[in-house]
């Protein structure tokens, strides 16, 4: 016994991180519980090999990345758009239908933009901007040099910026067209 964390402890402490990571790597809402199971099955099998050489979170992220990548390859899952976002997001008792819908439209928009990025850029971008992980840690999680982290971040930001601008431009165009049509 190395005195490392038990499976249950890892699960308790890291479930949310795993869930977030999978979502941010493009695993759909309806699919994420399944993907999280897959991740923790690997964790269960490999926990003994994890010897604390890295942080648990970086080790876990590596597993999440592979699970998400494999799911992406079976890409039909990600096109079940219908039920996709449908299932099971956080329930906020105070939100009314409309507010909740707007929130989810935002998620859908974010997904759409992130979906256009290659997975390796997406990983760096979301770890840095959303998970607020440090560069060194990202490098460890993805097993890439620090310089590569920053160069991917730069490209991913550029990508994000352009995609969002395009989406917004279309929205404006649409609104104007609609306003015109109503006259």
């Amino acid at each position: 016994m190395t005195g490392g964390p038990t499976f249950k402890e890892v699960y308790e402490e890291q479930f949310r991180f795993v869930w977030r990571s999978l979502r941010r790597l493009g695993v759909r809402e309806s699919d994420v519980a399944d993907a999280a199971q897959d991740v923790f099955l690997v964790v269960h099998r490999r926990l003994d090999e994890f010897e604390g050489r890295s942080k648990v979170s970086t080790w876990l992220y590596g597993i999440c990345y592979r699970v998400a990548r494999d799911r992406r390859r079976l890409a039909h899952v990600r096109h079940t758009v219908d039920d996709e976002r449908a299932v099971d997001e956080r329930v906020d008792e105070h939100a009314d239908v409309a507010a909740e819908a707007e929130r989810r439209e935002g998620f859908a928009m974010l997904d759409t933009i992130l979906d256009e990025m290659p997975l390796d850029q997406r990983a760096v971008f979301t770890l840095f901007e959303l998970e607020t992980m440090g560069g060194e840690e990202i490098a460890a999680a993805l097993e890439i040099p620090l310089g590569t982290v920053y160069s991917r971040l730069r490209i991913a930001r550029d990508h994000f910026r352009k995609s969002l601008a395009r989406v917004q431009a279309r929205e404006r165009f649409r609104d104007e067209a609609r306003a015109g049509g109503e006259r």
């Binding site: 039909h76 758009v81 997001e89 649409r174």
Partner: protein, 300 residues
């Protein structure tokens, strides 16, 4: 190589729109029930920890042999889906969550997915089923490019039988998508059986992110109109907007929002028994939906 500033921090250089969207993403957390649900499902798949084994995390000895869990799951799913019962497939495969959390349609689809990757585990099924697969091959033009058709048949056939239209049309979407998808799609295609035109339509729309985006914007805009109408007290106007939307984008990304609004609009326009029926159906299909608490009162 100094670290760049984060976009969400002060002076990070992001625009307001960028920050808003990122902030939303950063706050995205799992639903409260997810952790326990996944844990329960995990327990069902992990080998029992022998009593009195040297504790220490339980991961050790126990983890070895049986945890070709993915494979087990896949095999279970493939086998069961071949024999017909969707719910059973989920349970047998250990993917309890699939049946519990996910609408049956996507459960089937997931199962199909696993079955596709696990042809080896379900070798006995294909032959008889393949002959049953009735659809006049006309479907996706290249019928044969997959070479693995035996695996495809059970999938194709089963989900269609049970759970038609909801999930399948979209599942078939990415004709132009990355390779593995495309071949998988072709195989899943027969499941949606009769509405091949739907297939083509949604295939085109989901294939390219940009198209998906367009579709999403369109849906989003029309939903907003219906919402506005409802807020103005124009329930019947809202209803007709929503049914237009349903016709225009039948397998919409925001289908749940549409239905939740429709239920509310029905109730407000006095059609309470319809509202009740649809609310009950909604809750059955999406018990975990964020809209469930709002829909719930209409189901009574």
């Amino acid at each position: 190589m100094s670290a760049p500033k984060r976009w969400l921090s002060d002076g990070g250089g992001a625009t307001r729109g960028e920050r808003d969207l990122l902030r939303l993403g950063a706050a995205h957390e799992p639903p409260a029930s997810a952790k326990d649900a996944v844990w329960t499902a995990l327990l069902a798949q992990l080998p029992p920890i022998p009593p009195g084994s040297s504790g220490g995390g339980g991961a050790g000895g126990a983890g070895g042999g049986k945890l070709a869990a993915g494979a087990a799951k896949a095999a279970g799913a493939a086998g069961a889906s071949g024999s017909g019962g969707a719910a059973v497939a989920g349970a047998v495969g250990g993917g309890i969550l699939k049946s519990a959390l996910i609408g049956a349609g996507s459960a089937l689809l997931l199962i199909a997915t696993y079955a596709v990757v696990a042809p080896a585990q379900a070798p006995s099924l294909p032959a008889p089923i393949a002959t049953t697969a009735p659809d006049p091959g006309a479907r996706n033009a290249p019928p044969g490019p997959l070479g693995r058709s035996p695996a495809s048949s059970p999938i194709a056939r089963d989900p269609s039988g049970n759970e038609g239209p909801a999930a399948s049309p979209d599942s078939v979407a990415p004709v132009g998508a990355p390779l593995p998808a495309a071949s998988g799609e072709a195989r899943v295609a027969p499941s949606s059986g009769h509405d091949s035109k739907g297939l083509v339509g949604s295939a085109g729309s989901a294939a390219a992110p940009a198209d998906r985006e367009t579709r999403l914007l369109e849906e989003s805009r029309r939903l907003a109109e219906a919402r506005d109408a409802l807020r103005r007290g124009d329930a019947s106007g809202a209803l007709s907007l929503l049914s237009d939307l349903q016709r225009a984008v039948p397998g919409g990304i925001l289908g749940q929002e549409r239905e939740a609004l429709a239920i509310e609009a029905l109730a407000k326009s006095g059609r309470t028994s319809e509202a009740r029926t649809r609310a009950q159906a909604f809750l059955q299909a999406y018990p975990q939906s964020p809209h469930a608490p709002h829909v719930e009162p209409f189901a009574r």
